[in-house]
Symmetry: C2
Subunit: 441 residues, 2 copies
Amino acid sequence: METTLLNDDFSLENLLDNWQTLTHAQREEVFAMLGRIDQEELFINLSSDYQAEIFEQIPHGEKRSWIRLLAPDDIADLIQNLGEETQAEALRYLDYATLVEVKALLAYAEDEAGGLMNSRFARLRPEMTVEEAIRYLRAQSKSQIETIYYAYVLDRTQMLLGVISLRELFLAKAGSTVQENMNTDLVTVLQDEDQESISKTFSNHNFLAIPVVDENNVMKGIITVDDVVEVIEEEATEDIHKIGGMEALGEPYLDISLPSMIKKRAGWLMALFVGEMFTATAMSHYEHDIAKAVVLALFIPLVISSGGNSGSQATTLIIRAMALGEVRLKDWWRVFSRELVSGLSLGVILGLIGLLRILLWPGKETLYGEHYMLVALSVSFSLVGIVLWGTLAGSMLPFFLRRIGLDPATSSAPFVATLVDVTGLVIYFTVASLFLKGILL
Amino acid sequence: METTLLNDDFSLENLLDNWQTLTHAQREEVFAMLGRIDQEELFINLSSDYQAEIFEQIPHGEKRSWIRLLAPDDIADLIQNLGEETQAEALRYLDYATLVEVKALLAYAEDEAGGLMNSRFARLRPEMTVEEAIRYLRAQSKSQIETIYYAYVLDRTQMLLGVISLRELFLAKAGSTVQENMNTDLVTVLQDEDQESISKTFSNHNFLAIPVVDENNVMKGIITVDDVVEVIEEEATEDIHKIGGMEALGEPYLDISLPSMIKKRAGWLMALFVGEMFTATAMSHYEHDIAKAVVLALFIPLVISSGGNSGSQATTLIIRAMALGEVRLKDWWRVFSRELVSGLSLGVILGLIGLLRILLWPGKETLYGEHYMLVALSVSFSLVGIVLWGTLAGSMLPFFLRRIGLDPATSSAPFVATLVDVTGLVIYFTVASLFLKGILL
C-alpha cells in the first residue's frame, strides 16, 4: 500500500516530502521497513509533531538513544508534542546539563523568541585575537552548538557586545583582536518577543541567525532562519484559517481528528449564524414592503452579497498588510481615505452594472412591473451605499480589533459579510422607500 | 515630518523596519539626510523594489558605484524593477563578467529556481584534500560568492557530485580527500522549478542553501534560505489576496497606486456580481411563491449566507493544505469523505439552531403565521442541505481548479459563496415547497 504512495522511492528526500500525506498507519509501516541509519536520518529531519509520533511508538528501552540524537531546542519542541506520561519518561533520559537547558527552554511559550531559540551558540571574548577565535570555532565544530559560522562576543556578565562571522574572521588582519573586527550595530530580538515580530525581523534583514537577549542585553541564545521558515508558514496558515472564518486548526488537514476539526469550524459558523439571524429580524420589519412589492425581494441576495464581497476584499487586504508590517495602527486614517475612494469607485461600477442589468433585461416590464425604472434606481443607488459601507467596515474592523488587543485576522471575510448583510438590508429598504414611497410602497 | 514617523531613530534597524510605511516623498527625504555609509548600508539591505526606487533618483554619474555594491542575483532583481530606460543604463555600468551572469539570470522567470539563485557559489574538486579545501574556501572569503560555509563538489563537466560544509571539513580526518567526506545523498532543485515547490523543499529540510541543477545534474547556482523567507511571505500574501476575492496586489498596500488597486479589486468584484445576478433570475422563478408566502423571504439571507460561510471555511482549508503540500490531487477522495461528515454535522448543528430560533421566538404566530412550524422545518432542513452542499462544493473546487491547471486559490471564499448562493436558493425553495405545497404555496 505505502509503496504506491511513495512510488517505491524510499530516499530521504521522498520520505520527507510525502510524510505528511501518509496516514498514521502508513507512517508506522514505512518507518518499520527502514534500516536504523535511515530511520535516524528521517527522525532528525522530521518536524517535532512527527518526531513525537515516532518517539511514542519506539520501545521503552530504545527511547534514550533516540532522544539523545537531538539538540536541546529540538528536544524541547519534541517534549511539547508528547503525551504527559512520555514527557516525564523522556526527561529522565537526558543528561543533567541537557536537562537543565531543556527545562529552561520549556519555560518559554512556544511562540516566543525564547521558545524558538537554541541556547548553544558560539561565544568569543573581545580580547581574543582572530587566530585564537578561528582555532576556537574550529574546535567547536564537534560540539552541539547550532552554528560555528556566527560567533557572539560577550563580556564577563554575558552581555552581548558584538557579532562576527567566520568569514569576517578569515578576512581580518592577522594579529588584530575580535573587538577590533566585530560588528556592534546589532539586530537583536527580546526573549519574550512573539514569533510574528521575529519573522518580520528576519524578512527585513537577510541574516542567517539573530541573537536573543533579555532587557539587560544579556545573551540568551540564537534563532536561525531555518526555524523561522516554519514559523512564517505557521503564521500564514493561522491567518488564512481565520480569514476563512474558523479557528486555526493548528494541525495538518489530514491529521487532525474529525471531531476536533468540526469543533473548530462549528464555533465560528454558529456565531456567524446567530449574527446572521438579525437579517431575519431586519427583514420582518420590511415584511409589509415586500408583500406590497415582491419585486424588491428578488434583488436582496444580489445587493447584500455585493456588500459582503467588497468587505471581504478590504478586510483581507488590511489583515495581510498588518501582518507584514506594511500598515500600522496609526496609518488608519491613510487607509480610511484610500478605502473611501476605492469603495465609492467600486460601488459606482457595480451600481452601473446593476442598473444596466435591469434596464436591458428582456421582459423587464413583466418581471419587474411597470415601475422597473424606479426599481432599477433603488438597486443601483443602494449598491453604491452598500459597497462603500462594506469596504469601509471591512477595512476599519482590523484596526479596531488590534486597538482593543485582539488579532486583526479575527475580522474574517465571513464575519464582515455577516455584519454587512444586516446593515445592507437596512440600506436597501431605506433607499427603496425613497424611490418607491407612494408608488409601490 | 519624517522624524516623527521614525521617532528620531535613524538606526539601520529602525529604517529597515519602517521603510515600507513611509510615503515615497518621505523615503526620498530620509535617504537624502543620511551619510554615504548609512545610505549604502540601507540600500544593500532593502528589497529590490525599494532599491529600484532609490536607484532611479540617484544622479547618473553616481549610478555605477551604487549598482556595483550588489551581487549578480541582486542586480538581476533590481533591474527587473527598473523602468526601461534605466534598465539599459544600469546594464552599461556592469563589468563584462557580471554582465554575462546578470543576463543569464534575467533569462529565468522571477518565480523559478533560476530566478532566485545566485550563480556564485564555492566549488571544490573531489580529489582535493580537506586542508586544500579549507585553504581554498578561506581564500574565497574575499570574493563575491554567496557563502563559503557550503561547498559544492563538481566534476570536470560541472556535474554535481556532492556537498560538504566548512564545519564538516573542520571535522574531517587530516589528509583525507573531499570525495571521502562529502555527502552524496543530495537534495537539489531544478532550474525551472517554481518558487512554491522550492519553499516546500526548504521547509521540509532544515538547510541553509540548496543547489540548483539542470536535467543533467549540471550545477547552475545555489538558493539560500534567506531569499526563500521573502518568497514564502510573497506566496502566502498572493494566496490570501486571492482567498479574499481579488487579484493579488503584488505591491505593499500603501505603495500601490489607487487606480491599480481599484482595478485589481474591480475585476473579481464585477465577475462575482455577474455571477450573483443569477440569484435574481432564480428568485424571479419563485416570485409567485414569495407573493403567496412572504414569510419565506425573511429567511433568505440567513439560509444562503450559511451555505456561503461553510463553503468559505472548506475552500480556505483545502487551498492552504494544498499550498503546504499536505493535500495532493490524489487525496480528493479522502477529503471528500471527511467533508461529507463535516458538512452533515455542521448542517445539522445550524439546522437545529435555526429550528429553535423560529420555534422559541416570541410572537412567532404573528410574525411567521399559523404555519410557523412548517416554516421552521423548511428553514431547518434546507440549512442541512445547503451547508452540506456548500462544504462539498468549497472543498472540491480547489481540486477541480488544480486538475485543469489553474491556481486552487482562485476558488476564493466570495467565489464559493456566490456559487452556493444561487444553488442555495433553489434548495431552499424546493425544500419549502415539499413542506408547504397546498398549505401556503
